[in-house]
Symmetry: C2
Subunit: 350 residues, 2 copies
Amino acid sequence: MSELRHDPLTDRWVIISVERGARPIDTQPSEKKKSEFCPFCPGNEDQTPIPEIYAVLKDGHTRHSVLDRHYIHPNWLVRVIPNKYPALQPEVFLSREGIGIYDKISGLGAHEILIESSEHSVEIPLLPLQQVVVIFNTIKLRMNDLEKNHYFRYLSLYKNKGESAGASLEHPHWQLNALPITPSEVARELHTSKVHYDKKERCLICDILSQEIKSGERMVEANEAFVVLAPFSSRFAGELLIAPSPHFHCHSFPGIDDKTIEMLAPVLQRTLARLMRKYNDPDYNITLHTAPFFQRQKNDHGKTIEEDYHWHLHIFPRIAKIAGFELGNDCYINTVLPEDVAKTLREAAV
Amino acid sequence: MSELRHDPLTDRWVIISVERGARPIDTQPSEKKKSEFCPFCPGNEDQTPIPEIYAVLKDGHTRHSVLDRHYIHPNWLVRVIPNKYPALQPEVFLSREGIGIYDKISGLGAHEILIESSEHSVEIPLLPLQQVVVIFNTIKLRMNDLEKNHYFRYLSLYKNKGESAGASLEHPHWQLNALPITPSEVARELHTSKVHYDKKERCLICDILSQEIKSGERMVEANEAFVVLAPFSSRFAGELLIAPSPHFHCHSFPGIDDKTIEMLAPVLQRTLARLMRKYNDPDYNITLHTAPFFQRQKNDHGKTIEEDYHWHLHIFPRIAKIAGFELGNDCYINTVLPEDVAKTLREAAV
């Protein structure tokens, strides 16, 4: 059974999950050949774990928590299933324990896979717009459902595209991890955002976006609702940030409404299309940062917490390797100017 | 010219170095073939940048700051040269500047290469012991020299072995980066160590080591002077920590004496030999954590600072990929129990 362990030296939690070590790896490093068997393709539903957590069907209906494989037909647009090799599991008894100087928590959480579409090798920019809307609606629905478990503190959503970005299966998919902790990177962003808000009564990310919109030199695109930019201190060549514009400030992704999802979907499609065209279809990670669950729960009693964080998506192309300097220092060497990235991507025809 | 940029959201500094983007990559991902031309091999000294910063010669003499290529003969055991594609450079005017909500620092620092030996494909475990002693003596000498520059705050020492660990040249080498900041990861360790010391008047790392020695389950080896263990909250499969034992507590690597270097060298050789044998010669990073320069300078005025940090080497085998979960959360999923790593490595014949 997996567990979370706390490092007293760096205040970082690590998930130790021996079960997950058994997973097969079928992405191909150099030639991107179609793997022979794909458990995520339609027709192979019996090779994925049950229950099927959720599916949006082609006829507009949905399926919820289907345990009997006979009812899992391949007529779906999007499927959510348990990860076959989960890092964390929901059926675990929560225990928090100190072991001398260390701390550990039982591996309570969730690890779900969202299969992006029935197409084995069609990436987001080439999916129909409505399919991308369905993906985001599904993410929202799963997050709102997982939030009902009061042991969960944070829901991490991410996508790994390609072998060098850590994908072990080629068929496009997202992963959702419910965690009994708020992870370090998010905790850091929450802290700096809170300190900024306490002092200035303004959202830190709104301030960053406003400065970027004014300067324009790192902007890729912006509309009424969303801003896409190459961050000033990008860790990765081609790194991008997508965030609700200051007029649409919002701390928590699962609170997003239908109209905003309809504005987000084409923005993500265009942004990834720019990356594919200008940086030779790179492997990448997408990760969502949003307010932790307990922070949303506290919002019933006050408004401030809603105002001091601002959800966003980070896109990290994996062109350069992460080496000893980066791992040892948590300081990155990036060889491409964010201003050049923005200019290059602005000029991409999409 | 490169620069350091500060991210107000994560308090992380990033080095933006366009020049470094020009470097060639000659490590081979799958077949580890010997590259045709190696600038680090003896006889090719004219292909490396001048000045040669330092060299230990076979006759026991040393060379210092040699600008004239005619004096750079291939009779060396260890060479230190400037990185041809430096992330930071010493000849830069230091400027620290705010740009609205952002901060930046000019790319002042140093980026040196320490060529481990004249052998193109002999790794540390197979070098003569005396050669490893010379490597550590050279590191110490370079750190003490770089510390004289009062603009430098921290010296990062690391080694990348293999393509997946970010090495761009195959010939074994270390890198030294002098930085005008203390990087986040080290700052975090300094902070937790200081909080612990302020409360308990004991070194945090000494406390960790004492608990590990007592339990024994994560110990790989220990002698009077050094402890090698698989950390309780290892981020990577096969991760290891080498630190001076509690009896030899020391905050700063460059203060190490000759006798201690002679005890460290065989410990590192055995530890890497264990990894090579039991984990199929993995790519890895080694990184040194030591007190920053300004902290040593303050030591003239009090003793506490000397006592609250404890230098150590992290070894990170690069078997699994770093994916979106890790990058987005700074939370790692490790599929191998540190207790199993320790047991496996203890049993390796070395």
